[in-house]
Symmetry: D2
Amino acid sequence: MLIVMESQTGEDKILKVINFIKQKGFDAHISKGESHTVIGCVGRKVIDKRDIELLEGVKEVIRITSPYKLVSRVFKPDDTVITVNDVKFGGGNLGMIAGPCSVETLEQVDETARKLCDAGVKILRGGAFKPRTSPYAFQGLGEEGLKILRQVADKYNMAVTSEIMEVSHIPMFLDYVDILQVGARNMQNFNLLKKLGEINKPVMLKRGLSATIEEWLMSAEYIMSGGNREVILCERGIRTFEHMTRNTLDISAIPVVQKISHLPVIVDPSHATGLRDKVAPMSKAAIAAGADGLIIEVHNNPDCALCDGAQSLHPEEFAELYKDLQVLAKVVKKSF
Amino acid sequence: MLIVMESQTGEDKILKVINFIKQKGFDAHISKGESHTVIGCVGRKVIDKRDIELLEGVKEVIRITSPYKLVSRVFKPDDTVITVNDVKFGGGNLGMIAGPCSVETLEQVDETARKLCDAGVKILRGGAFKPRTSPYAFQGLGEEGLKILRQVADKYNMAVTSEIMEVSHIPMFLDYVDILQVGARNMQNFNLLKKLGEINKPVMLKRGLSATIEEWLMSAEYIMSGGNREVILCERGIRTFEHMTRNTLDISAIPVVQKISHLPVIVDPSHATGLRDKVAPMSKAAIAAGADGLIIEVHNNPDCALCDGAQSLHPEEFAELYKDLQVLAKVVKKSF
Amino acid sequence: MLIVMESQTGEDKILKVINFIKQKGFDAHISKGESHTVIGCVGRKVIDKRDIELLEGVKEVIRITSPYKLVSRVFKPDDTVITVNDVKFGGGNLGMIAGPCSVETLEQVDETARKLCDAGVKILRGGAFKPRTSPYAFQGLGEEGLKILRQVADKYNMAVTSEIMEVSHIPMFLDYVDILQVGARNMQNFNLLKKLGEINKPVMLKRGLSATIEEWLMSAEYIMSGGNREVILCERGIRTFEHMTRNTLDISAIPVVQKISHLPVIVDPSHATGLRDKVAPMSKAAIAAGADGLIIEVHNNPDCALCDGAQSLHPEEFAELYKDLQVLAKVVKKSF
Amino acid sequence: MLIVMESQTGEDKILKVINFIKQKGFDAHISKGESHTVIGCVGRKVIDKRDIELLEGVKEVIRITSPYKLVSRVFKPDDTVITVNDVKFGGGNLGMIAGPCSVETLEQVDETARKLCDAGVKILRGGAFKPRTSPYAFQGLGEEGLKILRQVADKYNMAVTSEIMEVSHIPMFLDYVDILQVGARNMQNFNLLKKLGEINKPVMLKRGLSATIEEWLMSAEYIMSGGNREVILCERGIRTFEHMTRNTLDISAIPVVQKISHLPVIVDPSHATGLRDKVAPMSKAAIAAGADGLIIEVHNNPDCALCDGAQSLHPEEFAELYKDLQVLAKVVKKSF
């Protein structure tokens, strides 16, 4: 940490700051510039920088060590590649996940999965526990939904991902699901993250609606610090002033994250835009910008979907898009 | 719901829309204007308005019934007054809650509580389970912290509020705590909200960092729909582009909420600003704007606080502020 | 406009609303639903909807006619194609603009332009009047800068675009510049927009830092309503909470604008990200999402640039990127 | 500026950075910490910190000198007090400005001003040139409006403030107006700011819709650096995700600005909230938080206002509010 003193601060105040940080267990390195004295604050203790900022004569306190460790390329320079059902995410490999927003019936999931399987998809998504703003909205089928997902996935040789909202559900999810998904609203549900750090299956961590990239990576750090090294980051749009799309997909987050972190980062264009006709252009943009994969909502009959039908592709639309994406992938020297 | 058709839409498209909503279980009332046909969509079913927006010829779909019921003044016109340890929130009464950010030691809590008690405070706050962005930061004392709070509160005849982060902790909290606090990061932890709807103690619901007032009220609706009618709303600052304060306290949320909802709304100026010297002006602003109470961080020795010392008042500063606020309260015809 | 009355509003209040809007010059069409009466407010006058919302019994007032006319596809269904120096923007054609952030010296512009010309670029960008947050920062060379741009462009058979900040500069710009650029900070400088509506050269209108798409289109409407039909929209990033990039490039704005408006929309990845190594991925993402062109900062010696060198490409980096983009363009069935 | 090098950066890279900044005209002071080498970069030249951040081995570059000088309390520790028509803003004095949003007719302004004069107001506001999002909305009466304002103000011994949008209008405004107001949309119209720095009348500078406090102060610096030392800052709400109010009034900006700057800061609760019934609570909040004055919209007949009637107070409502505010002012030891 660097403590910048106000210009022309007297020696007495500088000494007080030094004593303060020494008392907190840090060493102090003083450097006098032309206009400002800067105190380097060295040590491994944790201190709230605002505590120092309140001391007299202190102009600014600057944190210089990154708050994340395990997620960082400093810790692990090479790309983490996560493999699920032969699908690889990261390291030049593109992964595709598709399926309905919510599990509604066996028939719906079966028909959707069959068509996705025909299109070459190997990981099926589907919501069984739904985070809904209103207590009066459809909340998902619960465990019954997970059972349907598993049954259908097994039939078509697919893997399954579904959203988990609650610590006590972890054992249940481990029975049915191959990738446990943490939704945007739970990105800072720290107890859930800690517990997911103790399991042996990949976790897909969505970015919170107004989370910074640093906060997102810190949430991944929670999972990794528990021992689970398989985290897939998922950009799904952030809240902005623009209301013509549900959220604003932050495509630039892809190269930013990839520079800092070794973890794969995929994109969810369906939730980000909330509009079916924007899914194709944003999927292409994501791949062109270097994303490590996509998660796309597909429903066998979107007009009758119980949830988010408006942003779901018809299986035929998806199949066509997937072909286009495979051509595009070659241009950026990757492949699904 | 109102469905506005594009101007010059043919009868066939209008009919398709009518059939679509009838199939979904709604009645249709058609109204032809000079430029636009408007279809009123009447019924009690839930439908995603984007599903209709995707139909051909539809210009816009407008929801006209409020999504909240129990929290609304339409449901209950009179102010809800919540009483804890003789302190009343709402209906012209002002409640004061104060205490340290985190419980650190028995001595710290005892000394702080004693001074707060002398100043006239009857409800003690203190964090035992702390939501921290970093897994490496101090996470709170856990149940030991709740024990300390209870022990000290009993000694000084105070009530206790503390933040709960996890469904499985509810029984523990019911043993020690009088008001269960839901933090900003858990405002949309819907499972937690549902379970808090089933208890018999007041819940203080903080507004999420980038939540709209409507989303905040919907989260309160989750609690109320479970049967618990004692919800205190707490405005604690929203995320904006301004970085000179930790967050931006949305003072105008106070009169806005009070017009729509019968629930009391209090303000947390300490977390909102993150800066000790901004707590007094923002506390005064909140009371002047009509808030039903305050929750303020006070620490017996802020310079040594393990968490958020920078925003904590010294007990003496607090006592002086509390006196000023009592004078101010009279001007707006209320009292603590 | 639709006026939704509160449920169970008495006839007298409904009548008062009807009288109010009639007095303002509108016709009223009443439609009684099961729970709400809706009054259609028909006419060509302008009225502030909040004036109606304040009347007793009114629940909500909803505007149903779009505020933009000339920019809309309803007014002109086909893509507007804007041609400058044989470069076409829109209608399946991609335009490329490149050059330094600021004009510094004749040598700098000449060397940069020569290399851009070799790479196939036909429109040169360069700032002569710079909008700087600080009065103490380099403000540009002024008219001298425009002269340099023109001289160099003529030498290499290029067209020129540069930012205009001030109504009184229009005649000067018309002497030197082929596309007049309105910067993000002047997107709502309405006097400037009006005057640019009266000229005979294309205007490139950048989106404001926190402008919605609707506000952006309304600013284009200002220009078009003056008679100038040649407006190129330019997405250059919006302000969000993310600080790892200078702004957040809103890629989804491309398909959104293209659906509503016939005007071409290009992307400025350099200002959006503020970082050289993010320019390539974001340029590719923009083209993949359907943008009608790009404007990219290139400097012959970025390390010595007086302004924004950090986001400028070396001419060699640009040439390589441009080749990649031409391959990518074919995949989305367009060409530069 | 402080340049923090990555840990374990080799001597060669450190030397390159030192050479780079020396070449740019700065001195270098090296300080080696346990984990990081920090290079102090000392000098008066201007450099874009991103240029340094792009050098190999550089972790972060931190600006430590404030970008503003003249607006800062370091430059002038005592409050600036600005006096207009015996009304003082700043230094413990509260100023009140009131009047209609737009000048419509002589009668309207006369009747409003007469009632405001009776209530004790000495500065009249009124818009003659209106910044409107739509080119089809009422744009104001122009110079005719300024004439009406002056004529009425002279009759009641009042001063006048009105918004200026355009450099070429300055001489006209100097003829009629006592305080020249810069609107939110023009906060970064730097040419206008520069020219207003050369006049001899006070300027009221509104904060931009999504401007940070630092950007706002830098715009004030533009005016002051031209020689005009009479700048009144006006907080008028910032854009946030909350849509139940037009904008979010940032009350905490008041104490934040007052700590950094000697300039008076007033509040516009009418534009901030956009709703008449929120003007009183927010006016009180502003005074309680320490604002140096208010500017409030009052219209003799708000229901017939051509602009923003919905947020305008009736003269009687205003008179009552003004009395309440005078009582409140005493509590914070100030007076109008």
